[in-house]
């Protein structure tokens, strides 16, 4: 999935550059959040990639603005949960059909990972549910 282009036309101030990048990446995440609700493989994958891009931007800009640090940590936790679900999705596609017990365990773990991600997304600051950064 290609990243959305960050429109920096005419933007010269460093503070504005940072804000443009973060807002673009946050918009991407929000646009793909339906994948988390659908819980399907591709939707979760796309949402995870968008979260990763936002997380990297937040971590990079923490040096310039320390207030991004908490959001960066939150998105790391969210991305970790989605990554664990993704790994199980990949393994499930190649697992021999005769491994029923392992398959059930992986499916159960996958659902737990998605639940964890959904909780982190629903309560991003552990409070009101706003994704403002």
């Amino acid at each position: 999935m290609k990243p959305e282009r960050v429109d920096l036309d005419g933007v010269t101030n460093l503070h504005d550059i940072v804000a443009c990048v973060v807002q673009t990446r946050l918009r991407e995440v929000e646009a793909l959040a339906s994948g988390l609700e659908r819980r399907d493989k591709q939707g979760l994958h796309d949402f995870r990639i968008a979260c990763k891009r936002l997380r990297y931007a937040l971590e990079r800009f923490t040096d310039l603005d320390g207030s991004y640090e908490a959001s960066a940590e939150r998105f790391k936790a969210l991305q970790d949960a989605l990554g664990e679900a993704r790994d199980r999705d990949v393994l499930l596609t190649i697992l021999p059909p005769t491994m029923g017990k392992t398959q059930r365990r992986l499916l159960q773990e996958r659902e737990q990972c998605v639940d964890r991600a959904a909780a982190l997304w629903k309560h991003p600051a552990g409070a009101e549910g706003s994704h403002e950064i």
Partner: protein, 126 residues
């Protein structure tokens, strides 16, 4: 001031990726593979974020190619470790051929990644 910060950050991340690449080529361990991938993802994300201000099209293509070159090795390692850690004890015999296949895939993919990255410096390219 703004350009200085950007130039400095790009220079810093480029060097970090180059160091990680050299470490992986010298010793293609799982930890070094992880390092080269992490540094590559961060650098790629930076180049994509500021492409309009400070474009490095050739460098960005190279960073993307490096990521692609290491995908298969990483996937095989992660999936094998997950399988080994989560398989039901009663299904060990059924899983063994798949574990062996993943181990072999991991070895071949790591060798191929090393070969590709050996020829792929991130310095001196714009």
């Amino acid at each position: 001031m703004e350009n200085k910060w950007l130039e400095k950050t790009i220079r810093h991340e480029r060097r970090a990726l180059e160091r990680a690449r050299r470490r992986f080529v010298a010793d293609p361990s799982e930890a070094h593979l992880h390092d080269v991938r992490t540094n590559g993802r961060r650098f790629r994300s930076l180049l994509e974020d500021v492409a309009e201000l400070d474009p490095h099209p050739r460098l960005l293509r190279r960073v993307r190619r490096a990521a692609a070159a290491t995908d298969a090795a990483r996937d095989a390692t992660i999936i094998r470790q997950l399988l080994e850690g989560s398989m039901d004890p009663t299904e060990l015999d059924i899983a063994r051929p798949l574990v062996d296949e993943l181990r072999e895939r991991e070895k071949l993919a790591t060798r191929l990644a090393r070969k590709r990255l050996r020829q792929m410096s991130f310095l001196g390219i714009s």
